[in-house]
């Protein structure tokens, strides 16, 4: 296999990993005001993703870096062309990351409420915009002969791409609900489980619509088969959620997200960013790629590092595998964990 094909595949895998992992923590963020009715419940929600969200986000950083290294032209065109959507995503991710860290740091309901809005918006906006971005990538955009994006921001908000955005938002929110049902207990678990079933039907509808539209637009046999498999996994996941088989429900939504992402990449291949102006202007794995030498080095690095990363990231999930209950969250008020307050004595950890 050509190295350019290998790297197209690896970048697809990185996006799969990103959507699979950050997908549920976006979902938890979106559901924070819906499922978390009390302060302690909200803390349960946030703490289900507490140890892992940052590691999940690194998948995006690596996907970006790998695109830069393996397909510089793709990276340059995509990032400069999608300037305003990416700006919005960056702003959302900044607010969201800071919100997780800072919301518990001052004991004030108003303070926490503001950061909760930050978590909600900071999760919903990228969950939506990544779908819009991928919709545009698959659909193609206006590229001139220099591979520069010459469309406008409004061009990116076409109906197909917007449906893509709604699809990722729905899928990630569902994935988050299923994850919460798996990782919590008591009231939160019950509410998340019930919500997952209702969300599941909506997600099935929009995702089915989006994937069908994709295949109608750019018919591709592999892509079609994978899309069908994604839809089947999603249906299976929702069914499992209905039967309260929470582990299987999570497997179902995880598989649906991965399969749908792979379906989009398979449909795209060998192009990486089609041009709607002229086929000759399209970016492909060939005209966008780095040199074979760079790709070879990167392949060795990836071959050695990726298994190690997967092992320790997997281990994190194992360490924090236990379900969280409201009782696990200390009643104590938020810190500062100074010497003065009694609460701090009962709350030793960081």
């Amino acid at each position: 296999m050509e190295l350019t094909t290998v790297w197209f595949g690896l970048i697809a895998i990185l996006w799969c990993g990103y959507f699979l992992l950050e997908g549920f923590d976006f979902g938890v963020g979106v559901l924070l005001p819906v499922i978390g009715r009390t302060e302690r419940q909200r803390r349960v929600l946030i703490n289900t993703i507490g140890p892992v969200w940052d590691g999940n986000e690194v998948w995006l950083v690596v996907a970006g870096g790998a695109t830069f290294a393996a397909f510089p032209e793709w990276y340059a065109t995509l990032f400069s062309g999608f300037y305003l959507p990416l700006l919005l995503i960056l702003l959302a991710l900044i607010v969201r990351g800071v919100a997780f860290e800072y919301r518990g740091k001052v004991d004030s309901a108003a303070w926490r409420r503001r950061w909760d809005i930050g978590i909600f918006v900071g999760s919903a906006v990228p969950a939506f915009l990544w779908g819009v971005a991928f919709g545009n990538i698959v659909r193609g955009v206006r590229l001139d002969a220099d591979h520069e994006y010459v469309g406008s921001f409004v061009d990116l908000l076409n109906p197909y791409a917007l449906l893509g955005g709604i699809t990722t938002l729905a899928l990630f929110t569902l994935h988050g609900a299923v994850f919460l049902a798996l990782k919590t207990d008591g009231e939160v678990r019950a509410r998340a489980g019930a919500l997952a079933v209702r969300l599941g039907l909506a997600a099935l509808l929009v995702a089915g619509g989006f994937l069908s539209w994709t295949q109608w637009m750019r018919t591709d046999l592999t892509g079609a088969v994978l899309s069908a498999a994604a839809a089947a996994s999603l249906a299976g996941g929702v069914g499992a959620a209905k039967l309260r088989r929470e582990g299987w429900a999570f497997v179902g939504t995880a598989a649906a997200i991965v399969l749908a992402t792979v379906a989009l990449f398979a449909t795209l291949f060998p192009e990486v960013l089609p041009s709607t102006v002229a086929a000759a202007n399209s970016l492909t794995v060939h005209n966008a790629s780095a040199t074979p030498y760079t790709l070879k080095i990167m392949t060795w690095v990836a071959a050695f590092c990726t298994p190690v990363v997967l092992a320790y990231q997997g281990w994190t999930y194992w360490v924090f595998r236990r379900r969280l209950r409201v009782e696990d969250i200390p009643q104590a008020a938020a810190e500062p964990a100074g010497g003065q307050t009694e609460a701090a004595v009962r709350q030793p950890g960081l």
């Binding site: 803390r43 703490n47 507490g50 140890p51 940052d54 590691g55 986000e57 690194v58 995006l60 950083v61 970006g64 870096g65 790998a66 830069f68 290294a69 393996a70 510089p72 032209e73 340059a76 995509l78 990032f79 400069s80 062309g81 300037y83 305003l84 990416l86 900044i94 607010v95 800071v98 860290e101 800072y102 518990g104 001052v106 206006r142 001139d144 994006y149 010459v150 406008s152 780095a290 040199t291 030498y293 760079t294 690095v301 590092c305 990726t306 990363v309 990231q313 994190t316 360490v319 236990r322 696990d328 969250i329 810190e335 500062p336 100074g338 010497g339 701090a344 030793p348 950890g349 960081l350």
Partner: protein
Amino acid sequence: MTCPFRDLWPLRGGGEITRLGDVDALDLARWQFAVTTLYHFIFVPITIGLSALVAVLQTVWLRTGKSEYLRATKFFGKLFLINFAMGVVTGIVQEFQFGMNWSNYSRFVGDIFGAPLAIEGLLAFFLESTFLGLWMFGWERLPRRVHLACIWLVAIGTQLSAYFILAANAWMQHPVGYRINAERGRAELTDFVAVLTNSTALVAYAHTFMACFVTAGAFMLAVAGWHLRRRNQPEVFRPALRLAGWVVLVAGLGVVVTGDLQARVMTDQQPMKMAAAEALYSTTDGASFSLFTVGSLDGHEELFSIRVPKLLSLMATTSPDGRVEGVDNLQAAYAAQLGPGDYRPLIPVTYWSFRLMIGFGVLAMLVAALTLWHARRERPRLARWVWPAAIWAVALPLLANSTGWIFTEMGRQPWTVFGVLKTADSVSPEVGVADVALSLGVFTVLYGILAVIELLLMVRYVRAGAPEEEQRPAEDGVDRPLAFAY
């Protein structure tokens, strides 16, 4: 339809307006890169240095069993986390920005520059973020030694990250291991080992490594000084102060030594930058170093100057009588070699940023030495100003870091890749002035707000002091309310 909004954000796209009056998309993109990078680099050195210092504190606790060290670990660990969050979220902007605002640069250098960035993510960011999560949430869940290993892995991750990003930057200062492919119009990697062992990268890493410890040491010194001044928890803060003071002194010495090495490498590779650092216009043997100059810097006229004879030649060439090339001579040589053009950086900026960097750094070391001396036996008459000096000195290394980066990046101008690609040719051609103005504005405002919040939180948690004595956390794995950060 003459609505200006329509022109700035054209609905049809294409032919983007990149200049509006005196405002140019290129200038705004440069400002944005400067603002976001300098801001990011407030948090980065603290993260790099403090992760290792917290790891040291925790290691001492495990070895000695003294609870003061556990309390210090938790106290400084919390400050570390508040700082880390900002470093992470502002870091993603950096990676995206190359493509967003500098697409021509990305196309041109991606084959070389992308690899260290990708490797940084794969090798360093995963390590840092995953093990930081384990460390934060693992206090009661992991065996003690494993838990300690987590913070050390975070510290190692920050070092790896620093190395790869500096290797990428060093390639811009001194490109090696590449060839130009004229047909594709880009630079292509021919020797990755050369890129990673670039002498510029090695000295820059050493210099930055030391500077990070000065920064984190000064931070810890200020915090400990604040409490000791109030005779608060001396059992925790006295050892912390000693550790911090010595770290600043030793690492400060390291900064001087590595800076000296770097100056020589720079003179060799980027003579214009060295000349611009001194505002030395004509090639001179046995050049002096001016500590302070009043005059028209660009007009070659000097009104007043305090000079150390022969110091510049010594710094640049190791010989007091060595020859240092001047700006005007270099400009003429470059123009002859590369064609007409202005190859000079903004001399006032390079001149002052170079001096301020050195000045702030030296001042930080002096304050640390004074504080250490004073802490051995307090002298009541000195206490009134030694402690405030120690506290305010937290800003000195941060200012030195910023001016250092301003110097090294501005001194490379007009190039992004020295001698190969100009800054003016690096910018995204189809990103309009309105888009960049918007992003620059939004980043500046958001970063400003976050800076205020971060500062308030820091002050709040510094004031709260270290947690009181507690029984050692159990290792039995029995479920109990979790001690969470969120």
